[in-house]
């Protein structure tokens, strides 16, 4: 092998690498770094959280203005602006007819028989008669599986074991069914029981994850979703607190329709968490996994007492607000 021919190539490559490297090296050599102490692992105030939507009082003290439709109407009469009511006024409470079409597709899946003539309706009743309030009670501890499961995980389990369908979390079918099941419970208050046992542990772990500082930027979910950040502009959006919103998921995310699969704008709650993680440079979780389930338990329990509105659209265009 003739090395001579390669020599200019080797040296020029090295020269290029070393020139760029030296500049950065030189600047860093003038930097002295001293560790002064450990950084807090969690965002403060998680001890103020309670598993009920009224817990928002300790954070923004605005709960009285948006606890139900009448309160919102009264607040608007008083001239309260959106940011004074924690942005809970127009975002969720109205139903969306666009999303209703998706929920009806979920209904078709619910009734469609498999090759054995079985469907979800076979066990759960025509029009879901036997599970009308399930959405309000989930996530829940599944005794047979021995763990806490969210509604999408429950759907995946039932679909696989009873119908032989591979409708795992975040598939089109699973999300459509989750939306249909949510619509069945429309109007009912969220009542996730985290008072004891596995559910209590799950709630506490989820709370700690929500307040844990993670990722490239070292943000916690709570960094943006508690005051003073909640209420201010983050890029062009305005974060709100974690109380109440979970009641409206799965949500029709219309303005954020993404290219590709035509259902990428139907957001389950864990899909939303994953989206936030990705935006904040945190390693995104896997839907249906124990940590994501725990965060969902925390969020849904933080909506306890708040009425489910399903199906709704994110940033629903309530024309009243524009006046």
């Amino acid at each position: 092998m003739r090395i001579r021919a390669l020599t200019p190539l080797i040296f020029s490559s090295l020269a290029v690498m070393m020139t760029g490297g030296l500049q950065a090296e030189e600047l860093v050599s003038h930097l002295e770094r001293t560790i002064v102490g450990p950084g807090p692992d969690h965002w403060p105030n998680r001890e103020l959280t309670v598993p009920h939507v009224s817990g928002d009082e300790k954070f923004t003290n605005s709960y009285q203005f948006w606890k139900d439709k009448d309160a919102v109407a009264e607040a608007k009469k008083q001239g309260k602006m959106s940011h004074e009511v924690n942005f809970k006024d127009f975002r969720w409470i109205e139903r969306s007819f666009e999303a209703d079409g998706l929920a009806s597709r979920g209904e078709e899946l619910f009734k469609a028989p498999n090759e054995n003539g079985q469907s979800c309706a076979t066990c759960h009743g025509e029009n879901g008669a036997k599970i009308v309030d399930a959405q309000a009670r989930y996530p829940a501890f599944n005794k047979r599986l021995g763990r806490v499961v969210t509604m999408p995980t429950q759907v995946a389990t039932c679909a696989k074991e009873r119908l032989g369908k591979p409708w795992v979390e975040n598939t089109k079918e699973n999300s459509l069914l989750a939306l249909y099941i949510a619509r069945l419970a429309d109007g009912r208050p969220v009542s996730v029981d985290v008072s004891n046992g596995e559910m209590k542990t799950s709630y506490e772990r989820g709370r700690d994850l929500f307040f844990k500082r993670t990722g490239h930027f070292n943000f916690a979910c709570a960094s943006c979703h508690t005051p003073p950040t909640a209420g201010n502009f983050l890029r062009g959006q305005r974060p709100t607190t974690f109380f109440g919103d979970a009641a409206q998921y799965p949500v029709y995310h219309f303005p954020y329709q993404l290219a590709g699969d035509d259902l990428e704008y139907l957001f389950t709650l864990q899909h939303q968490i994953k989206s936030c993680q990705s935006l904040s440079r945190m390693y995104p979780g896997e839907e249906g996994s124990p940590p994501m389930t725990d965060i969902e338990v925390f969020l849904r329990a933080s909506a306890n007492g708040f009425p489910i509105s399903a199906p709704v659209a994110f940033y629903n265009l309530d024309a009243e607000y524009l006046e």
Binding site: I10, A24, L31, E32, L209, N232, R235, R281, Y283
Partner: protein, 168 residues
């Protein structure tokens, strides 16, 4: 018998030169097992496992926040304000405008506005420390840990400082 003009080289010798070039390239990236982040492009998802995460089985699930770092920079302070503006206004780089209003650029309202930062006559060391690791001033600071987590290099920070100091 005269030497033939056309050289008949074995396939192995033909491949040797480009192979050696490739090996130099690989050697240059020695130790870099994962994708290298190109600032301005999405941060490689798998690299995010280097930092604390929401997981129970991955090692990052046991990681905590980086230690708080006090810094002292005594090098040349020249910075490129145009490059600084690119860094500050790019969501996939510094992302400063998410929270801060900037000179001649809108931004979020979460953090103090920096539109007129040049009029504050803040000491250089203070500004550098605020960007590198603001937790020295407040352990619960919201500010990203640009230094300890290697989000920005020293040169990046010098450029950003040069940019915000243009604010009048």
């Amino acid at each position: 018998m005269p030497k033939t003009a056309t050289k008949t080289r074995s396939p192995w010798r033909v491949l040797l030169k480009p192979a050696a070039v490739l090996m130099i390239g690989f050697a240059a990236q020695a130790g870099a097992q994962q994708a290298v982040w190109v600032p301005g492009e999405p941060y490689p998802v798998e690299n995010l496992k280097e930092f604390a995460c929401h997981d129970y089985t991955l090692p990052c699930g046991k990681k905590g926040s980086p230690a708080i770092e006090k810094v002292s920079y005594t090098g040349p302070r020249m910075g490129d304000p145009e490059r600084g503006k690119k860094i500050a206004t790019n969501v996939r780089w510094g992302n400063c405008m998410a929270c801060h209003a900037l000179p001649d650029h809108d931004g979020g309202t979460i953090a103090p506005g920096l539109e007129a930062y040049g009029t504050r006559n803040a000491p250089f060391e203070y500004t550098f420390q605020r960007i590198w690791d603001g937790r020295v001033f407040n352990p619960n600071a919201h500010m990203p840990v640009y230094g300890p987590n290697q989000v920005l290099t020293v040169r990046d920070i010098l450029d950003v400082i040069a940019y915000i100091e243009t604010g009048r």
